[in-house]
Structures are given as C-alpha cells and as structure tokens.
Symmetry: none
Subunit: 148 residues, 2 copies
C-alpha cells in the first residue's frame, strides 16, 4: 500500500473517531518514516476544500495542522428543504424540488428517479385523494431524512 494512502487512512480514521484531526507534522512524518513534506503532499492532494475538508495550521512552538471535514451543503440544504415542506405536498412542487436537488448535485440521477417515481400520482393512486398530498409530504421528508 502506498505511503500517501496510509497517511490518508490514518487521518481519515482520526476524523472518523474524533470528528476532527489535529496532527504535528514532524511527529507524523517520523511515525511513518517519511519526510515532513510528504504530509503536505497528502493534505493538498486528498484533503482539499473541493473534497470537503478544511486544513488549518500554525507554525512555531506548539504548532499543529488541523483537518476538519465540512459536511456543508448536503445536510444543510436537505434540512432546509425538509423544514420547508409542511404537512402537505403536491406532485408538481415535489418534482421541482427533486430536480433542484439534482441540479445542485446533492442527489444523483438514480436517487432522483427513485423519488420522482415514489411520489408520482400514479404510484399513490391507491391513497384516498384527501390524504394523497399528506402522504406524499411524509414520504418525501422521510426519504430526505434517510440520506442526510
């Protein structure tokens, strides 16, 4: 296994268990028997903002490198939508919302199709018309909650 993969793993594990990872560059390099700049390589290649991470650091005595995961958009956006949907939801509105989520790359094409299909009037034809929009709201919100 590659050095960079092992370092990545190490940091990911730390993030997993602690929520954020704070390391000392030299110490880590020492433990893995590599040059300190290797740490920077791993950080710039695998923990970029595009990949959802923030890296902060400080030099001098007591210096550190802190890596934090940003779960930003997805959960925030989903929560926002869940809160905006009340007790009732019509099919057209649901379609618009789902397409918006897809355009924003928060859900993929398959998820979008699953949702659209689950919420369509045809699928819900067995539900009493008076309850249909309420059931649709329930299904939609619960599906979103499931993928937060």
């Amino acid at each position: 296994m590659r050095l960079s993969d092992m370092l990545t793993q190490y940091i990911m594990d730390m993030l997993e268990s602690e929520g954020n990872a704070e390391i000392r560059r030299n110490e880590l390099a020492d433990r893995f028997g590599c040059v300190p700049s290797q740490i920077n390589y791993v950080l710039t290649s695998r923990f970029t903002p595009e990949q959802g991470y923030i890296v902060e650091s400080r030099r001098g005595g007591g210096g550190y490198i802190r890596i934090t995961r940003i779960r930003a958009d997805k959960s925030t956006t989903l929560m926002h939508i869940i809160n905006s949907v009340g007790e009732s939801l019509d099919n057209i509105t649901a379609q618009i919302m789902i397409n918006n989520l897809k355009s924003a790359s928060i859900i993929n094409d398959e998820a979008a199709r699953l949702m659209l299909s689950a919420l369509s009037d045809r699928t819900l034809s067995g539900v009493a018309p008076s309850m249909r929009d309420r059931v649709r709201a329930s299904i939609f919100k619960n599906m979103l909650i499931a993928i937060i």
Copy 2:
C-alpha cells in the same frame, strides 16, 4: 496462441477466481515479455463496457489497473422482483428484498436507504391501515421500475 489471447485468458482467469482483477501494467507486460502498451490494446479490444467490463486505473507510483465484470442481470433481477410482488407488500418483506438487492450490489446504499424510508410504517402512517400494504407495494414496484 496469440499474445492478446493469452493476456485475455490470464485476466479472465483472474476474474473467475477472484471476482475482480487488479494488475500492474509493467509487471504483467514483463511476465508475458511484451511491451506495456500491449496490455492497453487487450483491454480496449476485449474488456470494453459493451463486453460487460469496467476498467479503472491509476497512474503514478503504486499505480494499477483494475478490471471488473459488470453484472448484466440488473434489469433481469429487478423485473423478477417486480413480478414477484403482488398487490400487497408488508414492511418486513420489503426490507428483506431491499437488503437482498443491496447485498447483490444491484442498488447502492443510498438507494436502499431511500427505499426503506419511503416504505416504512412510520412514513405511511397517514395511509389507512387497510390500504397500507397495497400502497407500499405500489411505491416499491414503481421505484424499481424507475431504476431499471
């Protein structure tokens, strides 16, 4: 026997026994005493998506080429399940079916969670109990149809 046929055989055998084949291009070329690009030729001529394979690779130190066989039976399996579900479907059965689809890698984790959530009793609590299992069957079948 042709070089490309021997290489094809080698990779197929690997797929057969391991499920997927991960190779190092130079190493393999070396073993067969040919130029590395011969491997690429074999991959592009015999392991294309049309022929049911996915080829992933990575350059640089520690690079690799991974060949995986695509399961062509996705739609077949889905159709089978759709046909096996009648007018009514209870929650437990739905959960089992969804987990089976996931274990068989026919749907991913996100799709599984979406479905499980959409079909749960809690989500469908607004549907009259007498209709609930019928609505569940409808949603389930329509979701599966959407991803065929």
